[in-house]
């Protein structure tokens, strides 16, 4: 499972850097953030903050922005979501939409604040860039979360277990027949 999660994070970060080269508006989708939010909703705060840090730092390493700013913002966002989700039921396909939108906004606010704090200039206009990012990330994130459910949800896990049992059962039946 941990290897799968690591692969998922790595793929999100690499696609984030690559897709923008194909079509510039893809840059507004924060794929690593979507992955971070998805795993933060799984009620494991420790796992969430580690994934947040790793995804954020990897994104920073491929960017010319401040190293650690994405790491900080995604770690904090992941922790806030993981802390809230242990008290309020949020892991529901419909509720995920405002969660992703809120996470995108919070992540962006922290990111910009850190750049201002460390006297780094941000070339893009704040309101416009944040609005585009929230919209694009929410739309793409909602779809992506469905895709991630196919691999990581409890239902998917059960489905895999039942498929394995069915295979064993079929083998048992066929060996008895012959």
């Amino acid at each position: 499972m941990k290897i799968k999660i690591a692969l998922c994070v790595a793929l999100a970060v690499l696609l984030q850097a690559t897709l923008r080269g194909i079509w510039d508006p893809f840059g507004h989708i924060d794929l690593p953030l979507v992955v971070v939010v998805y795993f933060a909703l799984r009620r494991d705060p420790v796992q969430a903050v580690i994934i947040g840090t790793v995804a954020g730092l990897a994104t920073d390493a491929l960017s010319v922005g401040l190293l650690g700013a994405n790491g900080f913002s995604k770690t904090l966002t992941a922790y806030v979501i993981a802390a809230v989700v242990t008290r309020v039921m949020l892991d529901n396909p419909l509720l995920r939409i405002p969660v992703i939108a809120g996470a995108a906004a919070v992540d962006e606010l922290i990111y910009v604040f850190l750049h201002r704090l460390f006297a780094q200039t941000l070339p893009s206009p704040f309101a416009e860039t944040t609005a585009y990012k929230v919209i694009w990330t929410t739309v793409a994130g909602t779809i992506l979360c469905y895709a991630l459910d196919r691999f990581f949800s409890d239902t998917a896990k059960q489905r895999r277990q039942f498929a394995f049992r069915r295979r064993i059962a079929r083998r048992g039946v066929s060996s008895r027949r012959y």
Binding site: G21, W23, A61, V64, S124
Partner: protein
């Protein structure tokens, strides 16, 4: 590893949070004060590792965009029969390949023209990725230090300069575009050597335009004038096109002009670029002797 209860995990989470935030803060502090190279070594090596993934994806991705556009076009031709669709698909695929090859050929030819005109070597490179953060304007090219690329080398297309190298790994280089607010170049409005409208061009956070500062308000500047590099910044060679003046707020004897420039290179759709292995001429050493002190000794 021991299986922990949910309560234990929750109790440990704040400690993890604090330590990881501290780690990120430490990194930011270190990074923010390091102005020598503008880039960390870890980032460069990760960039190099990522390039092995980015190259094929960018290659396939370019084709995929064309494919999806093609599928979209086919929807409008619902009345055509399957045979015609098949033939059309084949013809369009061939045409697309031919056009792509022709365009690439044109671009490479134009890059070669720079080489013929310039007295320095150029390294043609392909853009394989853009900055993952939408806040910044940088791109990654598929040539690095093994191809002779060094920090602060200028990058251009046939149309004009696009930026400079801010990070180099053995097989990739990171280029900060001129539209980034932190990028700047010495430039002049009009012909180099004839005009005195000298100033500094830097990126603006609006509409992909550039801002030219410090141009004396007494110099005649009008919309449509060309802007070229002066070479005084010690990065870009003189005489390369920067862009064209699209807006000017006239200055006076005491205030400079406010000039907006549209870059001549199309920075939003870059595929091939040329890294110029340009070495600026060494500047004469500053005369630090104090004449009064010398007089005193005599």
């Amino acid at each position: 590893m021991a299986i922990r209860t949910q309560k234990e995990v929750r109790e440990r989470a704040p400690w993890w949070l604090v330590s990881l935030l501290a780690l990120n803060l430490g990194l930011m502090s270190f990074y923010a004060t390091d102005t020598a190279t503008n880039k960390n070594v870890v980032g460069m090596w990760l960039g190099a590792a990522a390039s092995f993934f980015q190259r094929p994806v960018s290659w396939v991705g370019g084709g995929s965009v064309g494919f999806f556009q093609y599928v979209g076009n086919l929807r409008h031709a619902a009345t055509e029969n399957e045979g015609l669709k098949q033939r059309l698909a084949e013809a369009e695929a061939e045409l697309r390949d031919a056009r792509a090859a022709r365009d690439e050929n044109e671009r490479l030819k134009r890059l070669l023209e720079i080489r013929e005109e310039a007295d320095y070597e150029i390294v043609p490179a392909r853009v394989i990725a853009r900055d993952p953060s939408v806040w910044f304007n940088s791109l990654t090219v598929n040539r690095g230090s093994t191809s002779g690329i060094e920090l602060n080398m200028p990058v251009a297309t046939r149309d004009g300069i696009i930026g400079r190298v801010v990070g180099v790994s053995p097989v990739t280089a990171q280029v900060m575009l001129l539209t980034d607010e932190r990028a700047a170049a010495g430039a002049v409005v009009g012909r180099l050597g004839e005009s005195n409208a000298l100033g500094s061009v830097r990126g603006l956070a609006e509409d992909g335009l550039l801002e030219m500062r410090f141009v004396s308000g007494l110099e005649p500047v009008k919309e449509g004038d060309y802007v070229v590099t002066t070479g005084q910044d010690g990065i870009y060679p003189p005489g390369l096109s920067v862009g064209i003046v699209v807006k000017i707020t006239p200055g006076s004897a005491t205030s400079p002009h406010e000039i907006r420039i549209k870059p001549s290179a199309r920075l939003d759709s870059l595929e091939e670029v040329a890294v110029l292995q340009y070495k600026p001429p060494p500047r004469p050493a500053m005369d630090r002797t104090l004449p009064n002190v010398d007089k005193g000794k005599k």
